[in-house]
C-alpha cells in the first residue's frame, strides 16, 4: 500500500515538474513572438510616419502585400517549386553520395590517404567560383543548379561520414573479427550504423549549403526561383520584393530543418 502511494506521489511530482517546464516553454515562446511583433510594429509605424525610408527598407505591410499578391497569382509557389526542386535534389545527391563515399573510404586506408589532398583542394573551392563554369557545362536550366547544390553538399557529407567511420572503437572491430566477421560484415553491421550520428550532422550542415548553392546558381542565370525573385527585386530597386524573397527563404529553410529533424529521429531512434 505504502509503495503504491509513494509511486503515485512521485508520479504526481513528475507531472507537476513537467507542467512547470511546459509553462516555462510557453512563456518563452510568447516572449519571442512578442519581441518580433514589437519590432515589426516599430518598422511599420516608422515607415508610415516617414522616419524610415520605404524606398530603401520597404515595410512589413508592403512585404505582406507582395507575398499575398504573388501567392494569389501562383508566382510565389512556382518560384518555391523551382528552388525547392534544385535544393532538395542537389541536397539528396550531394549528401547521400558524399556520405556513401566517405563511409567507403573506411574500407581502404590507401585510397583514403591518396584522395585526401584532392578532396581538400576541390572541397576548398568556393561555390561562387565554380558556378559560372557549371552553368556553361550544364546549361541554364535546373541541371546546372542541381549540380551546384550537389557540389556544395558533397564534401561536407564526405568528410563528416569519413570522420564518423574512423571514430569507431577499434575494440569493437576486434570483437567482430573475433566472431570471424568479414570486412563487408564489419562495414554493414558496425561501421555504417555507428557513423550515423556523423552522417546526420553532415545532413544538418548541408541544409544551409544547399540553399546557398541553389540561390547562387539562380543569381548567375535563371528565369524563376527564389534567387531569381530576390535578384529581380534588387535590380529594379523593389526592396519589398527582395525582402519577400528573404522571408520565403527563411520559411523554406525552416521547413527543411524540420524534415531533417524528422529524419534524425528515425535514423537515431535508439538515442533518447
Amino acid at each position: 500500500m505504502q509503495n503504491t502511494a509513494a509511486v503515485a506521489a512521485s508520479g504526481k511530482r513528475m507531472s507537476a515538474m513537467k507542467m512547470k517546464k511546459l509553462e516555462g516553454n510557453v512563456k518563452l515562446r510568447i516572449a519571442q513572438i512578442g519581441f518580433l511583433a514589437v519590432l515589426l510594429l516599430l518598422w511599420e509605424v516608422g515607415a508610415r510616419m516617414g522616419w524610415i525610408s520605404t524606398f530603401l527598407f520597404a515595410s512589413p505591410g508592403k512585404i505582406c502585400d507582395t507575398l499575398s499578391n504573388r501567392i494569389a497569382s501562383g508566382e510565389l509557389f512556382h518560384d518555391i517549386w523551382v528552388t525547392g526542386k534544385e535544393t532538395v535534389l542537389g541536397f539528396l545527391f550531394g549528401s547521400l553520395l558524399g556520405s556513401f563515399l566517405g563511409l567507403l573510404l573506411w574500407c581502404s586506408e590507401f585510397v583514403a590517404k591518396f584522395s585526401k589532398p584532392y578532396v581538400a583542394a576541390i572541397g576548398s573551392i568556393p561555390v561562387m567560383v565554380l558556378s559560372p563554369l557549371v552553368i556553361i557545362w550544364f546549361g541554364t536550366g535546373i541541371a546546372s543548379k542541381v549540380a551546384i547544390v550537389t557540389f556544395s553538399c558533397i564534401f561536407v557529407s564526405l568528410s563528416s561520414a569519413y570522420e564518423g567511420a574512423m571514430q569507431v572503437d577499434p575494440d569493437l572491430l576486434n570483437l567482430m573479427r573475433s566472431f570471424g566477421a568479414s570486412k563487408f560484415q564489419i562495414f554493414c553491421k558496425v561501421v555504417v550504423p555507428s557513423s550515423m550520428t556523423w552522417v546526420v550532422s553532415g545532413f544538418k550542415m548541408n541544409i544551409g549549403f544547399a540553399i546557398v548553392g541553389a540561390i547562387v546558381g539562380e543569381y548567375i542565370s535563371s528565369d524563376a526561383g527564389i534567387g531569381h525573385m530576390i535578384l529581380m527585386g534588387s535590380n529594379s530597386f523593389h526592396i519589398h520584393v527582395t525582402l519577400a524573397g528573404l522571408v520565403t527563404t527563411m520559411v523554406f529553410v525552416f521547413v527543411l530543418n524540420i524534415a531533417v529533424g524528422a529524419l534524425e529521429k528515425v535514423l537515431l531512434r535508439w538515442k533518447r
Binding site: 575494440d171 576486434n174 573479427r177 566477421a181 553491421k189 550504423p193 535508439w270 538515442k271
Partner: protein, 257 residues
Amino acid sequence: MDENVKLEAKGIYKEFDEENPITILRDVSFVAKKQEFVSFVGPSGCGKTTLFNIIAGLLEPTGGNIYIDSEQTTGTVSSQIGYVLQKDLLLPWRTIEENVILGLEVRGMKKSEAKDRATEYFKSYKLDGYQKKYPSELSGGMKQRVALMRTMIMEPEIILMDEAYKALDYPLKIDLESELLSTVKENKKTVIYITHDIEEAVTLSDRVYIMKARPGEIVREMEIDLGVDSTRMNERRASKKFNDYYETIWQSMGTSK
C-alpha cells in the same frame, strides 16, 4: 603434448619497433588445461593486454606460438575462443536481443533461429524481459552480463577475459564473479583471466601466473587450491588458505619490481 592441455603458449615475444624497439613480452610460455581457470596477475605495463590480443589471435607475436588442442593457431582468430573486455562493447543501436545474437548473425545463422537459441540464455542469465530494451536502458552490471551472454551463446571452449568486472562496484563485482565461476564450471569451459587484482585472481583461479613489467615476463606460476567447493566469491574468500596465497603472490610481485 599433454592430452589435458587446451591452450598452450610457447616462448611468446612481442616487440614494437617504432624508432627504438621495446620488448613488451619476453619469452612468455604457459598452459591452460581443459576446464581450468587460469589467471594472469601483474602490474600495469606488464603487457597483459598485448598477451590477451595475441592469445585471441588478433595480434601476431614477434616470436613464439599459440596452440589450441595441440594445433598451431598463432595470429589467427579461432572460433574456439570467445572474449569479454572491461568495456561491454554493446552496439547502442541494437536491442539487447540483437546484441546477444550479433556473433551468431555473423556466422550466418538466421535471425529467428538465433533468437530462439537466445531465449534460454536470457532465462539463465536472469535477463528475461529485457530482450527489446536498448543498452542505454540497462545498468552497468546488466550490460556486462549481456556481454558475457553474447560470448557464451557462441559456445566457445575457451573464454578470455580482460579485467571484465573492473568498472563495477564491489558487491556487484562479487555477484557477477560468482555467477561467472558457476557458469564456466557448469559448462566445462577453460578460462584465461587477466587482472591486476590479486584477490580476484586467488578467489577465481585454479592456477595463477604472476607477471612483472618492462618487459612483461612470467616470474612465477602457482597452483591454487582453496579447498572450497562453493562458487560463491565470499565463501571462497573465507578459506583459511586465502591469505597465504595472497601474501605469496604479493611477495612475488613485490620482489619482481
